[in-house]
């Protein structure tokens, strides 16, 4: 997956200056947006690694800044500076090693199950992140910002859950219908934004953000109805066993077939974006909407289709969450999945393999962060800081190069 950033044949270079014709301008906007996205997605692997290092360093600084032992040692910094540095080192090392233990391998566990338990949790947590991020990425590649993955995940989970506990279908069919319910719900929910953009020009960013909240309140309302909830708790009935995603490694682990769906979804998106006509249309519209229109593509229809596909994937993410991991609905079913998915898509450079790896990384950080919080008292929120900084740094390679005093690629070319 190294190709696809080249503009499609016949597409003009993104218009650098504003033109007087509104239609032309539309094309320019699409071109510019995708140009930025392309910038995000073509930085070198080196920048990614350095961005991650930089974010971890800033995270470390924060951990040191709030650590009590460090603060105590800082009181006599000039008398015994070594104390300060060893306290700082141990604060950071404790936190980050706990993060690793919680996310990958628990080398302190007694048995094999305990050792690999964190890894399976990471894969479980990564599942919906990967799927939803694939959806966001499809939007990015077509020049659309789907900020509404959160709402689409909620709608997907809601309908999947409803099918899972309200209908009682035969084994096999039940699971498929429940998953499809989530896919359709997510797709339709995002389709609203696509339709409004196509028909009225309403900006998809605004509409999807607003739909996030509408979805959340809708779910909160549904959880108060007798259809969803039996008791007084804002919590739905449990999904029938026939609609649950099967566990992959036995009862000990939560890892379920949703992870296989994530892999399938990544392959599907790869195929869709690089091998299918529809994907070509998506990319053409994303690269230069004006050229795509001139070439006879319906840009408005593409907008709708892109949003539906994007939302369908997010809906699937919600489905795996409710049918695989949680098994019942609460208003926190989506957590911050939708927003994490945006950062995962950016970190993965909007490409399936990248997103798969970025999703594993984020899943690991989220799971490990919980262990870190319990064992060292470092709040899990540091993970959010690290995650957001990584994405910001990756998006601004010149900043990373400046921090590490690296030459810019252009100068290198001149030198060579």
């Amino acid at each position: 997956m190294s190709e696809q950033q080249a503009p499609p044949p016949g597409a003009a270079a993104p218009v650098p200056t504003r033109s007087a014709d509104p239609a032309e301008h539309t094309a320019g906007t699409g071109g510019r947006a995708s140009q930025v996205l392309r910038e995000v997605s073509t930085g070198s692997l080196g920048v990614t690694v350095l961005a991650f290092v930089l974010a971890l360093v800033i995270g470390a600084v924060l951990i040191i800044a709030v650590d009590d032992d460090v603060a105590a040692a800082a009181g006599y910094l000039f008398a015994r500076p070594a104390d300060f540095f060893s306290a700082a080192w141990s604060a950071v090392a404790d936190a980050y090693s706990a993060l690793f233990r919680g996310a990958v391998i628990n080398y302190r566990a007694d048995d094999l199950a305990g050792v690999i338990h964190p890894l399976t949790e990471t894969l479980t947590a990564a599942t919906p992140l990967i799927i939803a991020a694939l959806g966001v990425a499809v939007g990015f590649r077509a020049g659309l910002f789907n900020i509404g993955a959160q709402g689409q995940v909620i709608m997907g989970a809601t309908v999947s859950g409803l099918v899972g506990f309200a209908w009682h279908l035969p084994v096999g069919i039940h699971l498929v219908v429940a998953l499809l319910g989530g896919v359709v719900a997510g797709g339709l929910w995002a389709g609203i934004a696509g339709f409004l953009k196509a028909r009225t020009g309403a900006h998809e960013v605004i509409v999807t953000i607003m739909l996030n909240y509408v979805a959340l309140y809708l779910l909160q309302y549904l959880l108060t109805t007798s259809l969803f909830s039996t008791g007084n708790q804002p919590k739905s009935r449990s999904v029938d066993p026939s609609a649950q995603l099967p566990l992959l490694l036995g009862d000990q682990f939560r890892l379920n077939a949703g992870f296989l769906l994530a892999i399938l979804a990544a392959v599907f998106v790869w195929w869709l974006m690089t091998r299918s006509t529809i994907g070509f249309r998506f990319r053409a519209v994303g690269s230069n909407a004006h050229a795509a229109r001139t070439a006879g593509m319906s840009v408005t229809a593409t907008f709708v289709l892109v949003m539906v596909v994007s939302g369908a994937l997010a809906g699937l993410a919600g489905a795996t969450q409710v049918l695989g991991t949680e098994k019942f609905l609460t208003d926190g079913i989506a957590g911050t999945l939708g927003f994490d998915a945006i950062t995962v898509a950016l970190l993965g450079r909007s490409k399936p393999l990248g997103i798969f790896l970025a999703g594993l990384l984020y899943g690991g950080l989220n799971v490990g962060g919980r262990v870190m919080e319990v064992s060292t008292g470092t709040p899990i929120d540091i993970v959010l800081v690290i995650q957001s900084l990584v994405v910001l740094f990756i998006a601004a390679p010149p900043l990373v190069r400046a921090v590490f005093r690296l030459p810019s690629p252009e100068t290198k070319e001149v030198a060579a």
Binding site: T17, A20, A23, T29, A33, L62, F145, I342, T343, V383
Partner: protein
């Protein structure tokens, strides 16, 4: 729909002159709403009930007895007034003129009164406290929207209002608590929000990273940073770091004694009075000064602004910082302006409603304030109705601002158009 409809970003005066068409969208929408009110709140409303509205507080100089209204008759009368307004809007639309904002506003007020009369039938509620609470809840939204429009008028989309509110709330609580003075906290709020503003400017203006991406990510960053500091520092020493005094209510002498409006508008904390000042100052500055003209030029057509010698980058830097400070001031409301202590993610999506208010207010300060008041009212109403146990589930009331915004950006309630260059990095060429 033609190609130009996809993103009618340019002013396109030619389209307005050549393709002027009579659009009945607004009249139809108002008519449908009016009819719904007539049927649901009026004709199908509970018979024989009375609705009681309290109109003065205990400490008022002039006491007014609560209004006791026959529920059904009042709702019918109000619905008919609403329908007449809808009919007038049709007349306006027929003349190919845009339906004026005041008409929609008056319609909204009348419609909501009809709704209230129905919802409170057989019970009683205080209009004064309803409006007072609405104004209070509108404060962070209005400041956030003002901050947002200062950004967007200069061509930088500010999705990070949420993050700015949150850091502002954090700063106000911590500094207010350490100094023991709420007013110092109030000054600290915008300063803390500048952190987010500076990052927004750095990444969007200097490094040309997509503004929407930066905004979304900065919100995550703000949540992460404030929650991290809350969990690791504030919680451990809450007495010293997270127990700020609250801003006290300062009644304006004289004005606060006006019946109904007095206590609503002039018996508030300093942050509300600052809002009045901010709206006036930003309005005048944006539309009546050379500075404002330049800012708007940068937001609409940076190339042209650059050509006449305006420093586009510097203007954007200044406005992003200024906007984030203004939004941060609104953040102070969450802590020292209301509950006092800071809590994790306490802004709870209000930044996004502020964004909605900015859009609904069509990027103008007065419009933003109006929209913020509308959303604040919906929020307060939701609280009041929740207590009164009315037939409307409060989740639907909470949804209202978002749905209204979707309708607004979809052009169903008049056309909404932002600064043309918002969202686009400017590269000097």
């Amino acid at each position: 729909m033609t190609a130009t409809d996809v993103a009618p970003a340019r002013p396109a005066p030619s389209a307005a002159v050549v393709g002027r068409t009579v659009s009945y969208k607004v009249p139809v929408a108002l008519g449908v709403l009016g009819l719904a009110a007539l049927v649901l709140f009026g004709l199908l409303g509970p018979a024989g009930e009375t609705t009681t509205f309290g109109v003065s507080g205990a400490s008022d100089l002039v006491r007014i007895d609560p209004l006791e209204l026959p529920s059904r008759a009042t709702a019918v009368v109000l619905s008919v007034v609403a329908l007449l307004l809808a009919a007038y809007s049709a007349v306006v639309a027929r003349a190919s003129r845009e339906v004026p904002v005041w008409l929609v506003t008056v319609f909204g007020v009348v419609w909501v009164l009809a709704f209230l009369t129905w919802a409170v039938a057989g019970k009683s509620t205080s209009l004064v406290s309803l409006l007072q609470g609405s104004l209070l809840l509108a404060v962070p939204l209005a400041f956030g929207a003002l901050g947002g429009l200062l950004n967007e008028r200069a061509g930088v989309v500010n999705i990070a209002i949420e993050g700015q509110l949150l850091t502002g709330a954090f700063g106000a609580a911590v500094i207010g608590s350490v100094t023991g003075n709420a007013y110092v906290g109030l000054v600290a709020a915008p300063v803390f929000a500048l952190v987010i503003g500076a990052m927004l400017a750095l990444f969007t203006v200097k490094y040309h990273v997509n503004q929407i991406i930066v905004g979304v990510v900065l919100n995550v960053f703000a949540v992460g940073l404030t929650s991290f500091l809350y969990g690791s520092v504030l919680k451990e020493d809450a007495a010293r770091l997270n127990s700020p005094p609250r801003l006290e209510v300062l009644p304006v002498p004289g004005l606060s004694q006006i019946p109904v409006l007095g206590p609503v508008l002039f018996r508030q904390t300093i942050i509300v009075y600052l809002l009045y000042v901010a709206v006036v100052v930003v309005s005048v500055a944006l539309f009546r000064t050379r500075w404002g003209l330049r800012v708007r030029a940068v937001g609409e057509y940076p190339q042209a602004a650059d050509t006449v010698g305006i420093d586009v980058e510097r203007t954007r830097w200044h406005n992003v910082l200024l906007g984030s400070a203004v939004a941060g001031l609104g953040g102070a409301f969450f802590t020292i302006g209301s509950v006092g202590a800071f809590g994790e993610e306490m802004t709870a999506g209000k930044g996004y409603i502020a964004l909605a208010a900015m859009i609904l207010g069509r990027w103008s300060p007065v419009g933003a304030l109006t929209a913020a008041l509308l959303f604040g009212f919906a929020d307060k109403l939701q609280q009041v109705l929740g207590v009164l146990q009315t037939p409307i589930p409060n989740q639907f009331m909470l949804m209202l601002p978002y749905i209204v915004t979707i309708f607004a950006v979809a052009g169903l309630v008049g056309r909404v158009r932002g600064p043309a260059a918002a969202g686009e990095p400017y590269e000097k060429g």
